[in-house]
Amino acid sequence: MNRAALTSRLAAFARSSLFWPVTVLVAMLLGNVIFTHGFLAIHVRQGHLYGSLIDILLFGAPLILVALGMTIVIATGGIDLSVGATVAISGALACYLISKGHGLFVAIGVAVVASLLLGAWNGLLVTRLGIQPIIATLILMVAGRGVAQLITGGQIITINDQDYKLIGGGYWLGLPFAIILVAIALGVTVALTRRTALGMLLESVGGNAEASRLVGIRAAGLIVLAYAFCGLCAGIAGLMISSNTLSADGNHAGLWIELDAILAVVLGGTALTGGRFSLAGTVVGALIIQTLDTTIYTAGIPPRTTLVFEAVVVTIVCLLQSPAFRAKVMRRRRRRAKEPAPATSKQEVTA
């Protein structure tokens, strides 16, 4: 690639919405490299890979998965607050069935189908009953947690199926299986959205619902599909989480994961209002959150301060993404220049 092409590629990247998230992530990784000895090191033990970088990917796997599903829903202009409940229900169902003697595949199958149905339920509330997504999914968020607790009887179900452990805690070809699963999920999502026309149609619906209607797009089916997909992702993440500890905790599994997932999507540059979405951005966003957690842990900072750092990072990225904030900062720098003040006031009048 010659210099001109390289510069233009870099310029395009700088202007893209991916710029700030990637920069922040790289900065955090660099900070780690500088301050933590052996951060980049990867060891091999018993044929398995270990290291800080692997840890970030492994612990972040469930979040990346949930965030992928969330991205699709947000692209349609919606949101899904119930993924945490779905995570809990999925793990609870699988462990419950296994503990009652059913086979592994039956248990996983039921959990997956249930997650799909829960997602579809959300989609139907939004399209058929016309309920705002935030409220529609709030219902399942509250009731679903209760259902998960009902299944586990308020206790933690523990099981002993080593095959089940593979999903979240096992290894395959040297890598943690969870990472492979996420990579497959990412591949499938990319194929589903970019290799078919689904991605473009979803962006159209989220970007301008009326224009999409006038083009003949039937949004209802697509929206239900989006929510069902989100439910599915949450369900698989739930299996990952519960298999890691070979147990299902209806009270705590997936608690607040929806908020982290929404944050990951927003950090990655996808707008909450819908339209253009970026799967890569979401992955970067989820990695930022996970790297932050890992950084705090390896730096020996008490983990209880994690939330404060997350809040600060989120605030910074949101401000950087806010045109109003950037305008204010720019205006302060340009006060010296002789620029005429814009005559048009900000108040838009639809006359």
């Binding site: 404060v308 605030t315 806010s322």
Partner: protein, 338 residues
């Protein structure tokens, strides 16, 4: 001519409920119905004290729901309330137990802190156009994080002022009593209801929630109003935190997890629409009481476990929202045909 006629008809039937009052009346009906079910089923349920206990046990939620109502009336949302409650309680505990400051000095400082915290989020939302969901989510993380940083474990409060308030109560006729926390909650409700109905600030809240663009063109102080409601919510969360610390006599980083959901559920069940502009404070209070009576019934039942509360709340939420959609749809169809 038809609206003039309907105006005359409306005035000729002063006792018929207005359409906009229907949701609150439904909530009231629901509360009375649930209370009746409990009274019929359990012998000790149908007493005045059990009714007053609802206020004693849920006083802090009432205060938080009041603040949340202000925010939701403007079409926003505040996810940080639970965390601010916990942080405020923790600040009370640390102020009195670790810094040995007198409680009457600590409490106003905590309230001021909550108000500023809320105003900060309001500023981000209005001036920098960050969406309320995200801004208050960051606030939630920050408050919870600060709380955890201050102390990872519970701190018991053994302060004379707190003890005096917690161990004494207001004695009412008939041998019943009401805690000072509950009294505070009722006072907050009264003041807030006054503000919303009888002051320009309160009316501006409704206007901004009804149509922000119109409010701007009519010359109303939209920005100031938006920041104000988040500041009020911050104040209410802080006060709720103080009341919660009074109720539990401790500060604990795991307090009030998920309280924001309870507050939002109470507000929605109380008939306030999440898009803003319509709703009554009394509805939110009734919403809290409905949640409270469900919990009370379950505790009387003894055998049913706590997760049924969640499921019940979820079903209730669904019912109310579906009802709201139905009322809206019928209203719009009627308006279109005139």
């Amino acid at each position: 001519m038809s609206d003039v006629l309907s105006g005359v008809v409306a005035r000729g039937r002063p006792l018929a409920p207005r359409r906009r009052h229907v949701p609150v009346l439904v909530t009231l009906g629901l509360f009375l119905g649930a209370f009746l079910v409990g009274a019929v089923r359990y012998p000790n349920f149908g007493t005045a004290q059990v009714f007053l206990d609802l206020f004693i046990d849920n006083g802090f939620l009432i205060v938080v729901a009041v603040g949340m109502t202000f925010v939701i009336l403007t079409g926003g949302i505040d996810l940080s309330v639970g965390s601010v409650v916990a942080l405020s309680g923790m600040l009370c505990a640390i102020g009195t137990m670790k810094l040995h400051l007198p409680a009457p000095a600590v409490i106003p400082l905590v309230l001021a802190f909550g108000t500023l915290f809320g105003a900060g989020m309001g500023y981000m939302i209005h001036v920098f156009q960050v969406q309320p969901f995200i801004a208050t989510l960051a606030g939630m993380f920050l408050a919870r994080g600060l709380c955890l940083t201050l102390s990872e474990n519970q701190i018991s409060i053994d302060d004379s002022f707190f003890d005096a308030l917690a161990l004494n109560s207001l004695h009412l006729p008939g041998g019943t009593h009401l805690s000072y926390g509950a009294v505070t909650a009722l006072a907050v409700f009264a003041i807030a209801a006054f503000v919303l109905q009888w002051t320009r600030t309160g009316r501006n809240v409704y206007a901004v929630g009804g149509n922000e663009q119109s409010a701007l063109l009519m010359g109303l102080p939209v920005g100031r109003t938006k920041i104000q409601v988040y500041a009020i919510s911050g104040f209410c969360s802080a006060l709720g935190g103080v009341l919660f610390a009074l109720y539990t006599l401790s500060g604990d980083p795991t307090h009030a997890i998920g309280m924001e959901l309870d507050a939002i559920a109470a507000v929605v069940i109380g008939g306030t629409v999440l898009t803003g502009g319509s709703g009554y404070l009394v509805g939110s209070i009734l919403g809290v009481l409905v949640l409270g009576v469900i919990k009370t019934i379950l505790s009387f039942e003894g055998t049913l476990s706590s997760w049924w509360t969640r499921i019940a709340i979820g079903v209730l939420l669904f019912g109310f929202i579906a009802l709201q959609r139905l009322i809206n749809a019928r209203h719009r169809a009627a308006a279109a045909s005139t």
